[in-house]
Structure formats: C-alpha cells, structure tokens
C-alpha cells in the first residue's frame, strides 16, 4: 500500500524510539496512511498498518477509534472542520456553521453529493484569538466571514477541477 518513499519514512519514524518500541510509531504512521487513502482509514488500511509495525490489528483499532482526527468513514475531498467552542462561539462561529450548511446544502457530518465537501464541527483548535476559524487540510483558515467562506469554496472547486 505504501510507496517505497513512504516505507522509508516509516523506517525513519521507528528509528526515533528505542529498539522494540516501534508501537510508538502508530499514530504518526496512521497519519501517513490516512493521507494516502483519501482521508480515511478502512479496516484493510488499519490491518496493513498493524502488519507494518508488527502489532495486532486490535491495537490499531483501539487507537484509531480514540483520536478524533482519524476518520473511519469516507469523507469528501475537502473537509471543513469548523471550531464551535466558547471563544469561537463568542466571535460568531454559529453563524459561520449555518452559512456553510446553507451554502453547501448539507448538515454537520454530511458530505456534498459530488463528494467534494464534508462539514464537521470540532472543539477548540488553538486559534481562539483568530476566531471564527476552521481547519482545512494541513492548515487553518482564520477570521472567517461569509465572504471568506465563499472564496474558500471557490478555491477548492477550482483546485478539484
């Protein structure tokens, strides 16, 4: 499943820990696996990770189900993860979430029919001073307004084409 390059990356990660402690590589390797598998972890992917690290599949499932960044269901190509905790709420995150729902015609946790967008609400992402905000892929989009949301949606659509 992993390319030669990714397999080398796995080796490099395992080398960060003392001999025999390769299980410590599990979360970093699950991140890698999710990246190359369309943003989610199927049971086949998790079994593959187990075999790579020579641990049992259940050890992988236990971890994958605990951490909120791991998706166990397919997601859209672009996942809007909008923060809804206190500090963001004080700066109008509810309006942003409502705006995205209407604009994309989906509810929280749903994906658009074209498979392009998924909307998720998340808890504090450590950007409270730059609220309202969301995570999009590797980066944050901060100081959101309806206009900025429009621009982000356009940006994603044009990248997808």
């Amino acid at each position: 499943m992993f390319s030669e390059e990714k397999l080398n990356k796995v080796k490099e990660i395992i080398a960060r820990y003392p001999a025999g402690k390769q299980k410590s590589a599990l979360i970093p390797v699950l991140h890698l696996a999710q990246e190359v598998s369309g943003g989610w972890l199927s049971s086949e992917t998790m079994d593959y990770v187990a075999s790579l690290l020579q641990i049992t599949p259940i050890e992988v499932y236990e971890v994958a189900t605990f951490y909120s960044m791991f998706n166990l269901q397919p997601v859209g190509q672009y996942v809007f993860e909008v923060c809804q905790t206190g500090p963001c709420m004080l700066r109008g995150s509810d309006n942003i979430i409502d705006y995205i729902k209407k604009k994309l015609d989906i509810g929280v946790g749903q994906t658009t029919k074209d498979g392009l967008f998924t909307l998720k609400t998340v808890e504090c992402l450590g950007a409270c001073g730059y609220a309202p905000m969301m995570q999009l892929g590797k980066h944050y989009r901060e100081h959101l307004t309806p206009e900025k949301v429009d621009a982000i949606i356009e940006e994603c659509r044009s990248k997808a084409n």
């Binding site: 699950l30 905790t85 206190g86 409270c128 980066h139």
Partner: protein, 454 residues
Amino acid sequence: MGRKLLFDKAHIEGIRYYDVYRANGGYGSAEKALKSMSPDQVLDEVKKSGLRGRGGAGFPTGMKWSFIAKPEGVPRYLVCNADESEPGTFKDRYLMEFLPHLLIEGLLISSYTLGCNSCYIYIRGEYAWIPDILEEAIADAKKNGWLGKNIQGTGFDLEIYVQRGAGAYICGEETALIESLEGKRGNPRIKPPFPAVKGLWDCPTVVNNVETLATVVPILRIGGEEYAKYGTGKSTGTKLISACGNINKPGVYEIEMNISVEEFIYSDEYCGGIANGKRLKACIPGGSSVPILPANLLLKTAKGEPRMMTYESLADGGFATGTMLGSGGFIVLDEDQCIVKNTLTFARFYHHESCGQCSPCREGTGWMKRVLLNIENGKGKMSDIDLLWDIQRKIEGNTICPLGDAAAWPVAAAIRHFRDEFEWHVLHPEEATKRNYGLAHYADPLEIAAPAAV
C-alpha cells in the same frame, strides 16, 4: 512598555531561522550552561528563578526536576508538552511558529540538566504545519553542532524528535501524553508512580510545557536571581497570555507578572479594551477549566484590592470569589454574551474529550451537557440548576485525572456567580431564545465587607 524575556527579540525579521537567531545572541545560554556549568549548577539557577510550570498547574519547575529518579543504566526522558488544547490557549503555538530555536535551546539546556539524551516534543495533531517548522529548526541546530553527538565538543549527546498527536485534549495530561507517545489510547494512568520515577517506556521522565522549557533560556541568560526580580512575590518572571473573545486586540502577549487585570484588558499595549465599544461582563482568565468571574470580581478582589495578573492575586478568595491563572488562556465576554450558552460549549467540550475511564467523568459530563442544553433552549426547570450543581459536585475529586475537576469547575462557577441568569432562562423561556440577559448587575461596584470591629 512591560519588560520582555521571551519575546524581546520576536520583532526581529527572520528570527525563526538559525542564522538570525544565533546572530542575536541565540544559543548563548546553552553555550554557557554546557561549557561552564554542571547540571546541578543549572538546576540551582532554575530553582532560584522561582519558575513555575506554565502548562496550567504552576508547579515549581526546579523542584519537579530534582525529583527525577536516576537509576544506573536506565535512560531518562524529557517530553515537551505541546498538546495545547485547553480552550482559550494558543501561546505555545506562537512560540513554536515564530521562535522555534528558543524552544530548542531550552530543550537542550533542560536535557543537559536532567541527563536526557532523547527528547520528544508531543504536539497536537491539528497543528499539522508546525512539525515542519520545528524539524527544519532541529536540522539547522544539528548542522551547527547544537544537537547530535558530542555537542560543541562537550561530550553531551542529544536528539530531539517531534511526535504528532491526533486530536485528543486529554493527551495534554502528562500520563495520557506518555500513553499516547507509546502508541496507545490517551488514558491517564493512576499516580503514583509519577512519571519522574516511571514514565515513558517505564523510564524516569519529566514532562514540561513548551513555555516552561523556553523560559529556561532567559533564566540562564540573566541568572535565576535576576529572573526572580521580575514579577511579584511567588509569581516570578513573565507569562505568556493568549487573549481572545470580545476584545479589540486578541493575540499572544508577554506580560511581566506585576500588572493589573484592568491594565491588561484596557490598555492599548495589550487587549485594547472591549470590542465594539461594549462593556465587560465576565472573563475566564486561565483557560476554560478555571472559574469564570463577573466583571466586578475580576477587576477587584472581594477585599476591594485591584486584581493583578499573578498566580496569587487571581486565586485570591479561593473559588468563592477568585479564579486561577491556569494556562493563561484569557477569554473575555462582553455584555451581549450568554453565560449559559458559553458554559454549554465548555460542557460539550469536556464531554467530547473525556477518555471514558471513570464513570463520574464519562457520564457526568454528558449529563451536564444535556441539562445545560435544555436550559439554553428554554426547556429547563428550576430544579435543573440544583441538579447541575449536584452533578458537578459528584464529579469533582472522584476521578483518576483532573479532567473531571476541569469539567466541574466552569459549571460550578457559572452557577455560583450567574445564578440569576440561569433562573431567568428557566422563567422566561420564550424571551431567552430571542435575547440575552445582558450585563445585568455583573459590573456593579462590589459591597466591600467592613472589617469586623475588634
């Protein structure tokens, strides 16, 4: 302008790169420590500085370091806690993004002091772009002989690794963090044994916050005694405060711990006052876990003294009339904000983040969330307010880790200080869904109890 020790060079263009950092005195503290001081001498400076952990609990760092067990032939580990997930807190992110070498220098000095040859930075998974910044800085430090084998010819070896989490607030708790670093679910361990004796892979381990470890650099630069002259009393030095909510200038500020809360909120040097010309209603000054205070109790203690930005002054009055400095996540609410709704978002947060090991925490957080949701939606009963009080009391102190307390305190403080706002929601359900209770009497001058006649 307040004196700065961490951000004194933050304005310098390119300070995040090795050459600029070094040209501006960077790695000078590490050089001094590794070349001219023994680990015990460094420890002594840290003790003298009075530095207290910046992750939230405020435990004296020097004392914590002196507890680390040193069995023969067993490696010791330093773990830098960069999980930063307490709502309102975003200061460590700033340090790592803009001053990565300051952190690396701090890790180097701290590892030398503790006798660690491997150090892990555990960073929350959502800060997905920051590991690249840190890894670039680590590579540059290594190229220049500040990491790797035989650092600067001193014979000391150190490797620093960056490990990403994957979305779990609980992994900020030190034993959950260690579990996570071992590739497991983030379930806190029962203490004792403490990490200083049995931590990462059962080896002696020190877990410290990013800001704590970065602060070791200025301490070594100016000396522990000089550092202790900054600040007030047992709140020595400077503290990073991440300010957010309804203020004019949200952001990360370094304050010397000798200014008043009022100055911090209203002066142009810091928050610049309440946004949109509104009035201050309430504030949670140390991250979502610490008690919320109404404006009047925030600016003045119950004794009528100005409240200061120090560990002691913010805690003055205990939980009855005080709060805590915590992680320095300073959340400001203006007169239009609803306390019930704000409390509800925190209850939802803790419910989402509970690891589920202890039933009072797992069940209680969900129950509080549901009751608060009812009150917020105009479906609450008067008895629900007492029920909330009762649930939080039953969580507090009855769990493995302090997340249970952290979930209980915000609810307790909201009811303690804003009970009439909760009652108004229950009594006026129609109105409560349309408008907020407003400022009410929360900024009124306090009646100061006259000193008892002798």
